[in-house]
Amino acid sequence: MAETVDSTPCGALIIGGSAGSLDVLLEIFPALRKDIGFPIVLVVHRKASNESLLTDLLKSRTTLEVSEAEEKEFLSPGKVFIAPADYHMLIEEDQSISLDYSEKVNYSRPSIDVTFQSAAEVFREKLVCILLSGSNADGVEGLKSVNNFGGRVVIQNPNTAIMPYMPQQAVLNVEPHLILDSHDMADYINKLNG
């Protein structure tokens, strides 16, 4: 069953994380293939003041092109787009990026829910969303939408998360396609078809 679904092409991968997710990202990124055939979007909670820190850290650990998402920029395969600190990031029907400085959602901006939800309808069954470690429940509602539109929901095994609350909430409320240990994430991503 899982195999037939996994042969569905991946139009976009979105990874959401909060407290404790940086370690996982730093483990995933060096191990990614150079020729990833889809865009990767990262929505990570952090302080507004650490603006470029995450981008710089990841840049130093991968050969993929990493940049902070620009307003109206188009998602393109093989590139990594980081939701800028203090803005929500939404995906438009034409796969361009809209930034939005509206109220925080789940005390967070960027909110993982917002990006997951807007991408769910755009990419439908071609969307893969991964939710990592964190200590609030942001992302859970978004994963529900991803499910509704036929996308794939992947959750970090809470036992391998530094902050298990966020993946735990996801596991309790959303039927995941997969629950993965942090060590298996890179391998999973490398096997997705563009």
Partner: protein
Amino acid sequence: MISDAIDNEQVEILLNDVLESHGYDFLEYSHASIKRRIIRLYGLDNFVSFAEFRYTVKTDKQYFKRFLEEITVNVTEMFRDPSFYKSLRNDVLPVLGTYPFIRIWVAGCSTGEEAYSLAIVLKELNLLNKSLIYATDINPSVLDKAKKGMFPLNYLKQYSENYLQSGGLKDFSAYYTANYSLAKFDESLNSKMIFSTHNLVSDHSFNEFQLILCRNVLIYFDKDLQHKVFNLFDSSIEKLGYLALGSKESLEFWPKAKEYKRVKMEKIWRKL
């Protein structure tokens, strides 16, 4: 919030109704953002069906007022992006200070925090007396708040930090008096402000300015609409005047961008 309560087609229907019945055109706003605002409002106000929501928006004038307030994003701050205000203080306003009179347009001013910040900088440069700030917004409710110049006291700590980072020279608390949970800003600041509704989508140029600020408004517009608004600003800025945008906005892809020169690293351009 059920994120799929309203689909793309329904958004289109609703926005067409709004244009037809109330004269506000949101059809060229960034689709994903406005859809999210619509679904959020639908959930907040506990509508049970799209038909009911549609009917209310279309026919209930009082409710439409709320719709307008909630569909637009009004989040703002004083001295938001301190480095931007530093550049205004050091690079832009001193140049404008050589003119006999300074006209400034703050387009999409929301509840006024930006206009008051600007007035404070002008005052510290001894330019406020010869300045006039036109502060406009599509939404009359935010303008009513802006006129009062009262902002929630619990934000003032953040604002005063922003102010200091932006090169502010005074004790920030000298500019306001605390009144219960609100900080009331000095009347000398808004004595130089004119508040008025103005819709960037449908209203025309109404004056010529040496400086236009339109920050964090255009991110909600699609590319074509952004370019229309840039044309509107172009016809409203004097030669050698300045245009300031929000930190995620840019003139870059607008055909006439070549006629403007960027001021340092900030989102400020000077008309050549």
